[in-house]
Amino acid sequence: MNTALVDFVYREARLLDEKRFDEWYGLLTEDVRYWMPLTRGQPDGETFTSLFYEDKLLLKVRIERLRHPNAFSQQQPSFCQHVLQQPTIETSDPAANHYVTRTPFMYFETQLDSQLVLAGVTYHHLTVIEGALRMRLKKIELVNCDAALPSIELLL
């Protein structure tokens, strides 16, 4: 199981880097949350603003928007590259069908001559549905979540 968890984390990042968004979308549970908090130790995404706090519907909007011919900020397209450290298994609970990995990362996002570099730790909360691992929560803790940031156009 541990290998499958680690493979999932690598594959998930690769699908984003290769803009294979439909395949990526297929990894999500119905109740998925894609969360990038605005502060350290942030308790929730409701009484506190987040950088991302997206459900499956919003993620669909985001993917469709990236493909829209009039997504003006993407007419010169952005590209991204995740560089992941070896994920560690934080929780492995088959009885509860609940698995958590922790993955330090660097993330590069470019648009022609500009390049943004971000770093942090990602937690994947995974569960098995019909024999396949699915992502219920992706929580991205940026090391500089409180910094003044430029546009982040793609998904970390």
Binding site: L51, L57, V61, R65, Q74, D146, I152, E153
Partner: protein
């Protein structure tokens, strides 16, 4: 600087010539000297938003920020008053507080370099080995005077300051536009707001005025936001359940792609000194789902009639020229901080309506994340347009930017009034104020 000619400094005529009744010259966005003069003149004469007094609830609490290029501390004194002080030791200039916010240890500000201490009202308290100044001119120098307080006004929790000793009085400067702050405050059953939910800090590589102008630009949403709000609308139509209410995010996104007729009819009110608000009659915030418990608490606090009036105002954006824009109906504000001629930091702050259910704060933080975050699909396209202006204006084909839409010769006597919201009157009003505030203390050099 080198041998560059000074085109605008000490030349109020040259500054005024950048603003025509219906056009502005590109130098207002591109020229470094104009930017320097904005920081020294306009941003010194105008009343600038500093922060909210709920950020400094107790004596000794402070919040640090910048007004134009000046580092300042907003601090609550032992007398309960919130003051704005220069964040600069009177001795050698060290910043006295380096954290964004905190509490002064021992009820005083203490310089981390030579240990000079100040009372919370800025007066000098102690200087180590003071006898070293005996027989010197120290006592009559500015260094001995402590921290000179910046003129400030706390308007219903919103703290504004004016760096210059000259300039319009607070009430004259903002006038009736303060009604937007009134409405935001009155939306709390207790008449009180508290900063809550964190601050989004979004770097814009564009001139600050592009952001400020856009806040009352009703001609762009249906174009610039087609890919985000339009996609949200279509996605919901394809997967949504028509009988149920739309999720909050859809409710917030979809009105951005309402048609021209909607945006025209929402109306814009333009005041003197560059202030204005869109959403005189209704706005993109008017049709949000009712939150029953909140409405009950409002009726309890204000009576049914008054509560309906307060909640019936759903203003879109109010611009408090030059650095504050507010959304009373959603309890979010944006503060513009120019960093360079082509670089601006936009901070989005959100508020809790004291006495209202948490659901209201969730609505506020959701909106701010969707629209104002560096990750916002809406923000991306706005910023893309500002950046494109910053680059496009380098074109030598035309040095002037058009603000002709619905211009009328009658504006020569003043622009204040209510108009259809697609009118560019708010921008023309901003530039009229711009030229006045820029040249207020330049004389006729």
């Amino acid at each position: 600087m080198g041998a560059a000619m000074s085109r605008y400094r000490n030349s109020p005529q040259a500054i005024r010539a950048l603003v025509r009744p219906d056009e502005v010259h590109r130098d207002v966005y591109l020229d470094r000297e104009v930017f320097d003069l904005e920081m020294e003149q306009l941003w010194h004469h105008a009343w600038l938003y500093v922060g909210h007094d709920s950020q400094v609830p107790d004596a000794g609490d402070f919040y640090t920020t910048h007004l134009a290029r000046d580092p300042v501390i907003m601090i609550r004194g032992s007398d309960g008053r919130v003051r704005v002080l220069p964040n600069r030791c009177a001795h050698k200039g060290t910043r006295l507080a380096s954290a964004v916010s905190g509490k002064c240890a021992g009820g005083m500000l203490r310089c981390p370099y030579h240990g000079w201490t100040y009372r919370l009202d800025g007066t000098l308290r102690t200087v180590p080995l003071k006898s070293g100044y005996d027989g010197t001119a120290f006592a009559s120098s500015p260094a001995a005077q402590g921290l000179p307080e910046v003129s400030s006004v706390n308007y219903r929790g919103f703290v504004f300051a004016r760096l210059s000793n000259t300039g319009p009085a607070f009430e004259d400067y903002f006038g009736e536009s303060l009604s937007s702050i009134d409405n935001m405050v009155e939306r709390s059953p207790e008449g009180r707001l508290e900063v809550a939910g964190g601050v989004l800090r979004y770097l814009h590589d564009c001139n600050w005025k592009m952001f400020v102008e856009n806040l009352n630009d009703a001609m762009h949403p249906m174009v610039a936001h087609e890919s985000s709000a339009g996609t949200a609308k279509r996605t919901w139509e394809s997967v949504g359940t028509p009988e149920g209410p739309a999720p909050m995010v859809i409710e917030q996104f979809v009105p951005f792609v309402n048609n021209y007729d909607f945006f025209e009819k929402m109306g814009v009110k333009v005041y003197a000194n560059g202030h204005s608000y869109t959403g005189v009659n209704f706005s993109i915030h008017s049709k949000y789902s009712h939150i029953g418990e909140y409405e009950r608490r409002m009726e309890q606090a204000y009576g049914a009639e008054r509560a309906r009036q307060i909640l019936g105002e759903a203003r879109h954006n109010t611009v408090y020229y030059p650095n504050l824009t507010i959304k009373g109906a959603i309890q979010a504000i944006r503060v513009a901080r120019p960093l360079a001629v082509d670089k601006t930091l936009i901070e989005s702050w959100t508020f809790r309506l004291v006495g209202a259910p948490d659901e209201l704060l969730a609505r506020t933080t959701t909106y701010s994340r969707l629209i104002n975050a560096p990750t916002s699909m809406v923000g991306h396209d706005d910023l893309h347009c500002y950046r494109s202006i910053q680059e496009g204006l380098a074109s030598s084909c035309n040095e002037w930017v058009s603000l002709h839409r619905n211009h009328s010769a009658a504006e020569a006597g003043g622009i204040a009034g209510t108009f259809g919201a697609t009118n560019e009157a708010p921008m023309r009003g901003q530039y009229r104020a711009w030229a006045e505030l820029m040249t207020l203390s330049m004389g006729e050099g």
